[in-house]
Every structure is written in structure tokens, then in C-alpha cells.
């Protein structure tokens, strides 16, 4: 007898379960996808002990006929696929026919289902893959699946489960995101007695985001709106999966394939420390895809620091034939037939919207916010020494620090967010600064008194008309109308506008202006180059030499005339005209540095932007530089004309806004 034998289904199912059912959240995902595929509109998920003890999903979908219900627990049994051609255009979330038998093989499972066509439902009980019971039952339409004691017969896997809290968090995040993808359906998630999520059907994704995350998050997000782009090229493309490539029909390509992108992404001021806040759905399926993640980061390139990540919820819809989900049993990876097209489409769409929205960061100032005192101290410590900075440092009362910490301990524990100002875009009507003298005196509308101490009779200092105000234009386009008042520390321009006070970092502002200028010149091919008196000879490391060879052409196009000069040595003969000769060595090494390492695979476009950013940074006016009023005005006007006046090419914010409303609030006038 041979040594090789076919494994019994029992074993095969357990092996498949290893891939498909990794943790309770994967069970929830598979079952949830089944329910969604069944057209349910009301999905209830119950879990106990983080899903270890119980996972129960009840839906109102189409249900199953009795025969089907029995068949569903056979391996590779599915209603979603008929032949191999269907694999090319999978429109359902599931298709492998592996999930149910896999789950059933590692748990005690109870299936209760009734399809519309049958008068009675079916109840099937399976434990460890063995059918225990199958009987008729009186049930409502839809399917309920109860999974108990997950991994009870796989102790090894059970050991690898994390704490209940962790597993529950995974489930909650999964359900949350499926609820975002399906705003028209009801989702309910309960863990034991407590309800974690309950959302009712709404008309738009925006409302669903509001339901799930609340207004604060919604304000920090930009909605893409529906954007689409057609793919026309009858490009041959890569066959979706090699296994079925032979079945590919010959290029009888349709004229156009439409890709639609929808969703939300955060304004550049929101910066997360990891990718956990990026959710990408392709045709309603939650996936992790390197290609799309990269498209997203390159959209934010030069807007947020390279180590920070945005918050994003992206929904990409495309022809089912354009995407292959049959990559991994867990179905969290996909492949696109026209990957670079999808990448560019996503990147360009987000970048465009980012440019259009031009949101302005505001100060997180409120009359009672002790957490800013320590920040002021920190800021002063980094400022160049001056009487003022000394004063700021001296005045930061040290005893407020513990107070701030205790009251806002949570915030301080998250350095990436605590260090950053808070950004709001609340559409509050700001009072107009222009007072109309002929208007009748306006009574201050009695509002809720913030505290008993503040007596607010008719204000003897004159009041601001509380209404009839233009909605404040918080986009940075108002920069051009600003009137510079002066500089702080010869580094930051303070300017007054119709809608309050602005503080602009002169270096990064100029950097942004030059960056776009240099990019434009570069695009036109009209880079001005200054030749050097003596060629500057640089010694490179072997690694830098390789990077240099790769980017030499780009360097030349950007205005660096360089040539190899023997072993690991290059000579610079000319450099972009705006750069002082003393900076050239530093800047070239800086460019080489950005070209190496993780960005090695980076596109030429990104490389070009990096080079331009380096040039702009070194050519820009520095902080600690005195500017006359004319220069400041020019700077603000030029900044307003840039495509993206909110952050510098390295992702730092340029302008801060302190609205008239906030000023009035701080002085207890409103």
C-alpha cells in the first residue's frame, strides 16, 4: 500500500480552518459576509467572552432550503459560484465554499434557517464537523448561526487567542467597518449584556459615519463624493489568477471600465501613528492592500510627515472582472488587473480633493484649558533665546503640568496627537468685524451663562452683532486678504484678517511657495542653474553611489549638473540658482538620503517631489529673519496662490487660525 493517501474531509476541513478561521473575528467576518451576500438588511451579532464562548449572527436574508442547508457543510459547497468563469467576476463577498465547513469543524455550531419558499425551517447541529442533529423547526425567514466554544477541539489554536478584550476589539472593529460599507442596513453588536454598536438604516455614508464615530470625527474628514474614472486602454493586463488563465477569453475587451471611488479621508492635520485607521473596501469587501495603501500615502506625500498616517475610509467600486479576490482564503487581499491605473486613480482623486478643500488648522484655545501651559513652555524652550521666549518659559507655571496631566492624562499618553494642535472646522458663524454705526443698537441675546460670576449685561464695551454674519470662509484662500501686523521672534508672521488672527510660519510658507515654483519650473524644463567656480567634489559611500546612479538623470533635470569623478566620487559643477553655494553639499546628501532606504522603490514622481522639496527648503527664508511689511504681504499673497497652502512639503502646518469667535470667547464677550 502506498504511503500517500487522500486526507479525509474531516482533516481537510481542519486544515482549511487554519487558514480561514484564525480568530473569533474571522468567524464573524465569514458569517457576516454570508449574511450580506444573502441580502439581509438587519444583522444582529451577539458575542460572549470575546467570541470564544459564543458568536451568534442573526439575519433576515434569503435563508436556505433544507437540502441546501445540509449541503452547505460539505467542503467547497457554495451557491455563489457555478463554474470557473464565474471566478473571473466574483460579485459576492464569499465564493470559496470553505467557511461553513471550516467553522463547523472547530466549534459547536447550530444553524437555524428558513427560506421564503418553505413553510418550515431547518435546524442543524454540528460539533467538531460531525452532524449531531437535523430537524424541522418553526423559524422566521432568514438565518441564525450560533457558534459555541470555538476551537474547543483545537487546543493549539485556542492557546494562541489573545485576551477577551483584544478579540472583542477585533470583532467590534470588523462589524463597525462593515456597517460603514452598508449604510442602508441595520447592524447591532452586543457582547453579553452590553450593546457595542447599534446603527439604523440611513440614506448616506456621511450619516453612517456620524452614527458610528460622532460629529467630531466627521468634522476632521473630507468626503470624496462620487469620483469616477474610466479605464479605456485595452491593456492586456495580468491574468487574475494563473490557475484559470487558460480560461481567459481572448481580448474582446469592453470599451471602458469604470472605477468609482467614494468615502472619507482625514485632513492633513489629523496624523495617526499607524495604519490602523485606514479602511479600504473594494466592492464592499474590507481588504488590506499594499497597492491602495501606497496610493493613499502618496496622495498625502508632502502633506504629512512620512512617519504619520491619515484616517481613511475608502470605497472603491469597480467591475468585478477588474479585481481578483481569490488570492488568499481569508480574502483580505486582492489583485487588480490594472494595478497602476487603480493606484493612480485613488492617489489623484484624494490629492485633488485635499487641494480643493484647503482646510485651515485652528488653535485649540478655550478659556479654560490648562493643558496648553506646558505646551507653551515646550514651545518656548525650542524657540531661539530672546527676552520673550525667556518670559514665556518663565511664566509657564510648573504646577499646571500635573493638573493638565491628571485632567487630560489620556491625551498626554498619545504623543503623536497630544503634540499636535487640535483641528476643528466647526461651521460656526463668526461675527463680522465691521460694525455698522447706523444700525440700531443690538441687544445681546441672552444665552446660557457659562458661570455665575460672569455678569453680562448690555456690554459697555460695545457688542458684536450676533447674527447676520457671513459664514466664515475657513479655507486658506483668505490668506491673500490678510494684513500682516508683524513678526514674532522674527520667525512667525502675525496677520489680521476679516475672520480673526493668523500666525504663519515664514520658513515653511516660503518653502511651500518655492516648492510649487520649483516643481513648475521643473515641469516646464526651465530650471535655472548656477555654475560653480570650482566643482564641488563629494565622496559617496557604495550605497550612495548606487542611489546616485539611479537618480542622476533626475538630479540633472532638477538643476544639479553632476558627473562621476572616479571611484565613489562625484563632482557637482552647477546647482539650482536659488541655492547658496555653501548649502549644496548638505542638500545633495539630503537628497541621496531620501532616495535610499524604504523609498527605493518609489516612483519617479515622488522622487522628483522630494528633490524639489529639498531645494525649496534650503532656498527658503529661514526663521530668525527680519522681514519688512512688504515682504510679509508678498509672502502671504504668494502663499494664497499655491495649490496647497496648508502644509509644507515635509508635512508641517504653515498657518494657524485664531478665529474672531474664539477671540471673543476668550474675552468672555460671547
Amino acid at each position: 500500500m502506498g504511503r500517500i493517501r487522500i486526507l479525509p474531509d474531516q482533516v481537510a476541513n481542519k486544515i482549511a480552518a487554519g487558514e480561514v478561521v484564525e480568530r473569533p473575528a474571522s468567524v464573524v467576518k465569514e458569517l457576516l459576509e454570508n449574511s450580506l451576500d444573502a441580502g439581509s438588511t438587519d444583522l444582529r451579532i451577539e458575542v460572549e467572552s470575546g467570541g470564544r464562548r459564543l458568536i451568534r449572527i442573526v439575519d433576515d436574508g434569503c435563508g436556505m432550503l433544507r437540502d441546501d442547508a445540509l449541503l452547505a457543510f460539505e467542503r467547497h459547497a457554495t451557491s455563489k459560484l457555478r463554474d470557473v468563469k464565474d471566478l473571473l467576476s466574483i460579485a459576492t463577498l464569499g465564493f470559496r465554499g470553505e467557511a461553513l465547513p471550516s467553522i463547523a469543524s472547530v466549534s459547536r455550531l447550530l444553524l437555524e434557517t428558513r427560506s421564503e419558499e418553505e413553510t418550515t425551517g431547518t435546524s442543524i447541529e454540528i460539533a467538531g464537523g460531525k452532524m449531531l442533529r437535523c430537524e424541522e423547526a418553526a423559524l422566521g425567514r432568514g438565518t441564525a448561526i450560533t457558534v459555541r466554544d470555538l476551537f474547543y477541539n483545537v487546543p493549539a489554536r485556542k492557546k494562541f487567542l489573545r485576551t477577551e478584550q483584544t478579540e472583542l476589539a477585533h470583532i467590534a472593529s470588523l462589524v463597525t467597518h462593515y456597517s460603514l460599507a452598508h449604510p442602508a442596513k441595520t447592524f447591532q453588536l452586543t457582547s453579553g449584556p452590553s450593546e457595542l454598536l447599534r446603527v439604523t438604516p440611513v440614506g448616506s455614508r456621511e450619516e453612517r459615519v456620524y452614527q458610528v464615530f460622532g460629529s467630531q470625527v466627521l468634522e476632521d474628514l473630507v468626503e470624496i463624493g462620487e469620483r469616477q474614472r474610466d479605464l479605456r486602454m485595452p491593456a492586456p493586463g495580468v491574468p487574475p489568477s494563473e490557475a484559470i488563465s487558460e480560461y481567459l477569453r481572448e481580448p474582446e475587451e469592453p470599451e471602458a471600465r469604470t472605477f468609482r471611488l467614494n468615502g472619507f479621508f482625514s485632513r492633513p492635520q489629523v496624523q495617526k501613528g499607524n495604519r490602523n485607521s485606514i479602511y479600504i473596501f473594494v466592492n464592499g469587501r474590507l481588504i488590506r492592500d499594499r497597492l491602495l495603501l501606497h496610493a493613499l500615502s502618496s496622495a498625502y506625500h508632502n502633506l504629512i510627515p512620512p512617519s504619520a498616517f491619515p484616517f481613511a475610509l475608502l470605497f472603491l467600486e469597480c467591475d468585478a472582472e477588474e479585481v481578483d479576490v481569490n488570492v488568499h482564503p481569508s480574502k483580505t487581499e486582492v489583485r487588480f488587473r490594472h494595478g497602476s491605473f487603480v493606484h493612480d486613480f485613488v492617489r489623484d482623486t484624494i490629492r485633488e480633493r485635499l487641494m480643493e478643500s484647503r482646510p485651515a488648522p485652528t488653535f485649540p484655545v478655550s478659556p479654560r484649558s490648562p493643558q496648553h501651559a506646558p505646551e507653551a513652555g515646550q514651545a518656548a524652550a525650542q524657540l531661539p533665546y530672546s527676552e520673550f521666549s525667556q518670559m514665556v518659559a518663565d511664566q509657564a507655571p510648573p504646577e499646571t503640568l500635573p493638573v493638565g496631566l491628571s485632567e487630560h492624562g489620556g491625551e498626554f499618553n498619545v504623543p503623536s496627537e497630544a503634540a499636535l494642535p487640535e483641528f476643528t472646522l466647526r461651521a460656526v458663524p463668526g461675527p463680522d468685524l465691521r460694525l455698522d454705526f447706523s444700525a440700531p443698537p443690538i441687544e445681546v441675546t441672552p444665552g446660557p451663562q457659562p458661570s455665575g460670576k460672569l455678569m453680562r449685561h448690555a456690554d459697555p464695551h460695545g457688542s458684536f452683532p450676533p447674527d447676520a454674519l457671513p459664514p466664515p470662509d475657513l479655507s486658506l484662500s483668505v490668506l491673500s486678504a490678510l494684513r500682516p501686523l508683524g513678526q514674532i521672534h522674527e520667525s512667525f508672521i502675525v496677520a489680521a484678517g476679516r475672520d480673526g488672527l493668523w500666525i504663519v510660519d515664514q520658513h515653511v510658507a516660503h518653502e511651500r511657495i518655492l516648492f510649487e515654483l520649483v516643481l513648475k519650473q521643473r515641469a516646464r524644463g526651465s530650471v535655472e542653474m548656477q555654475r560653480l567656480l570650482l566643482p564641488l567634489v563629494l565622496q559617496l559611500t557604495a550605497e550612495q553611489q548606487i542611489d546616485y546612479a539611479r537618480i542622476a538623470d533626475e538630479l540633472h533635470a532638477s538643476g544639479f549638473e553632476t558627473e562621476p569623478f572616479g571611484q565613489r566620487t562625484i563632482a557637482i559643477k552647477a546647482a539650482p540658482a536659488a541655492l547658496p553655494a555653501s548649502d549644496i553639499e548638505r542638500i545633495l546628501f539630503e537628497i541621496l538620503e531620501t532616495a535610499e532606504g524604504e523609498t527605493r522603490g518609489v516612483s519617479l514622481d515622488d522622487l522628483r517631489r522630494n528633490v524639489c522639496a529639498s531645494i525649496a527648503c534650503h532656498a527658503a527664508i529661514k526663521i530668525n529673519t527680519k522681514l519688512d511689511p512688504g515682504k510679509m504681504e508678498w509672502l502671504l499673497r504668494a502663499l494664497a496662490q499655491t495649490d496647497c497652502p496648508m502644509s509644507c512639503p515635509h508635512g508641517r502646518p504653515i498657518a494657524m487660525h485664531y478665529s474672531t469667535r474664539e477671540i471673543l470667547k476668550a474675552f468672555h464677550r460671547i
Binding site: 535655472e528 555654475r531 564641488l536 540658482a577 547658496p580 553655494a581
Partner: protein, 372 residues
């Protein structure tokens, strides 16, 4: 210490120290001036540890000694006193009392012991007319770069040789070279090569302005410092460390083509045309054609401008890009009426020199072209 000094003399010497006294000081004593009374003179010393100045003026010394007072405050106060004699007396607690006419002031000082000691002056190696030095500084100083790097130095090279003085400055894009004729170079006992920091050059110019006609600077130097003694004033500076670029390689050996122009004409033409050049690069195109030089500028945002200036030029048609500011820096500093523009091709350095009969020394200005 106690002495009486004339107000005018004290103000004049104190003023010279102001450029040296550290303004944004981190060491408080450096904002003070050291006053020493000896014999029939008082000596004032100021330093920021990079640069030092020591001046003296006659005084009636009643009691010898030394003390320090804030330099800025002392000058501001003394300047406001009426002309006449000022009596200064240093008290036990380092305060100084100043009496003049009916004014009496006490000014808070600091102990002399904490004031840094200036290095001793080594033997003199050359005697140089200060006017020559000042004129060389004026004609090279603008080409010094603001920042130091391996490639550029924020200072000028001074060469003292028996055949004459030479000063060279560069910022990596251009180089100014002046060689004074032997007749104006004074006497050099021993060849010397030194890098003078930009700030010291400025102070040296001030000393020269204040010195009388024909004044001579006694020059000496040790390993780390340079000393310029002008009359009873001594300026000393730390030497710049680093290697000055090999300027002789940069000075063109041969020029194929020369255009000679009227300085005032070409200067004002460039000034006008440069209004429409890029604000940062200040790039203009200079076209040399037979009998004239044309200048062009254009910027996408603002517009364009062109002008032509008659010139003695017989070479082939050439068009070269230059930074207008670099050309103007030179044209604004020369005293001669004619200027010679020497060039080879689009990629090689251009050279400007004053032209005409009144040229007595060798002044060469090398500017690298731009690619526009």
C-alpha cells in the same frame, strides 16, 4: 582707579568698541568694556572672543587701576553729557561713579578679574597703508558668502608678499581678486597668508575711516590671531580656520573675447532689466554681438525687459546667463568709468575688470554663468 578724561575723546574711542561688544551675549562680562588707567592714558578694551579692540586716549590719571562697565550704557550716557571733562572713579564694589559738571551717576560694573585677557601682540611683519586695506576690503567684501562650509569661507584671504598685497574673496559662484601695486602696499618684511573673518573686515574699515591720511597699520599674526595696530588702536581677530579654495585655478588664464563698455550705461541698464528677472535667481541673459551688448530678462509671472548698450566688441555672437546681482555688485564698487567684460563661452567663467587709464592695481572679478 580714578581719572579725568575729555568727553569727546572718550565718546570717540567708546564708539569704536561698540561693533565688537557682544549684543546678544551669553557671557555677561562680554557686554562690558574694560577700562584701565596707566600713566597718562586710559585704555579701553572690548571683545566678543572672536574679535577684540583696544583703544586709548589721554587722561589725567589720579589713581591707576582697572574696572569694567557696560559698554552700551556707558556710551549712551556719556554721549548725552555736555562737552567738557568727565571724572570717573571706580569704587570698592566695582561700581563706577561718573561726575561731569553737575551730573553725578553711579554705574554698576563688574570685577576686572573676570574679563578675558587679550593675547599679546607678536612682532610686526608688515606695515600696510590702512587706506589700501580699506579699499581692498570694499572691493572684495561683497563676494564673501554668508555661511561657511567646506566649499566657502565667510571671510577673505589676505596675502602679504613683497611684491604687493592681495585680497581674495569668494562665495562659490564668483570671486573677487585685488592685488595692490607695490607702491601702495607698504613694506612687507615677511610673507604672510591669513584668512580674515568678514566681521573683522568691517571693523578694519571703521578704523581706517577714523584714521588720518597716510596712516599705517602694523600687521602681525600668531598661530590663531591676526593683529592690526593703527596708531594707538589695536584690532585683533581670531583667524579663520579652513582651506581657502584654490583661487588661482579659478582665475581665467586666457580670454578669447573682450567687450568694453561704459560702466554707468551698463550698470543702469542691468538695474532696469533686472526688475523683470526671477526674484531669487536674478537671472538675466547677456548677449554679446558686434558693437553692442544686449541684456534680457523675463519671468513668467511679471513680464520681460530688454536693453542694449553700445560696446567695443568684435568677437562672435554669444549669449550667456548671469545673476544680475553679481554683476551689479562689481559695477557699483569700481570707481573707473569703463569696464571690460571678458568671456569665452556659455559654460566658462566671465571676468570683469575696470578698464581705462586710471587703473593702477589689478582688480579681477570672476563670475560663473547660469543656465537659463
Amino acid at each position: 582707579m580714578e581719572f579725568t578724561v575729555s568727553k569727546a575723546e572718550l565718546v570717540r574711542e567708546l564708539s569704536l568698541s561698540q561693533g565688537v561688544v557682544e549684543k546678544k551675549t551669553t557671557i555677561p562680562i562680554l557686554s562690558n568694556v574694560l577700562m584701565e588707567a596707566n600713566g597718562d592714558r586710559i585704555t579701553l578694551t572690548a571683545t566678543d572672543l572672536e574679535l577684540g579692540i583696544r583703544c586709548s586716549c589721554p587722561a589725567r590719571v589720579k589713581k591707576e587701576g582697572a574696572g569694567t562697565v557696560p559698554a552700551r550704557k556707558l556710551l549712551d550716557y556719556v554721549r548725552l553729557l555736555p562737552e567738557g571733562d568727565i571724572q570717573m572713579k571706580f569704587l570698592e564694589n566695582h561700581w563706577a561713579s561718573i561726575t561731569s559738571g553737575r551730573s553725578r551717576t553711579r554705574i554698576a560694573g563688574m570685577s576686572r578679574e573676570s574679563y578675558p585677557e587679550l593675547p599679546p601682540t607678536p612682532p610686526v611683519v608688515a606695515q600696510v597703508p590702512v587706506k589700501t586695506l580699506a579699499s581692498m576690503i570694499a572691493r572684495t567684501g561683497f563676494a564673501i558668502s554668508m555661511e561657511e562650509s567646506r566649499f566657502t569661507l565667510s571671510g577673505a584671504l589676505l596675502l602679504l608678499r613683497p611684491e604687493g598685497l592681495t585680497m581674495v574673496a569668494t562665495d562659490g559662484h564668483r570671486l573677487a581678486y585685488v592685488q595692490a601695486p607695490p607702491a601702495e602696499s607698504g613694506t612687507v618684511d615677511q610673507p604672510f597668508r591669513a584668512l580674515i573673518p568678514k566681521k573683522a573686515m568691517g571693523e578694519l574699515t571703521k578704523l581706517a575711516d577714523d584714521a588720518g591720511e597716510g596712516a599705517v597699520a602694523l600687521f602681525s599674526g600668531d598661530d590663531n590671531h591676526l593683529f592690526f595696530q593703527v596708531g594707538h588702536r589695536l584690532l585683533l581677530t581670531r583667524k579663520l580656520a579652513g582651506n581657502f579654495p584654490d583661487y588661482e585655478r579659478v582665475l581665467p588664464k586666457d580670454h578669447t573675447h573682450v567687450a568694453t563698455l561704459d560702466k554707468a550705461e551698463i550698470r543702469s541698464a542691468i538695474e532696469r532689466v533686472a526688475q523683470f528677472a526671477d526674484e531669487r535667481s536674478r537671472a538675466i541673459r547677456v548677449q554679446f554681438v558686434s558693437g553692442e551688448v544686449r541684456i534680457f530678462s523675463s519671468s513668467v509671472e511679471m513680464g520681460e525687459s530688454e536693453e542694449s548698450v553700445p560696446a567695443e566688441y568684435t568677437g562672435p555672437d554669444l549669449e550667456i546667463g548671469f545673476n544680475a546681482q553679481y554683476l551689479l555688485d562689481f559695477l557699483r564698487v569700481i570707481s573707473q568709468d569703463r569696464v571690460a567684460f571678458q568671456l569665452k563661452d556659455q559654460k566658462s567663467a566671465g571676468e570683469l575688470r575696470p578698464a581705462g587709464d586710471s587703473v593702477t592695481d589689478e582688480y579681477r572679478y570672476v563670475v560663473m554663468p547660469m543656465r537659463i
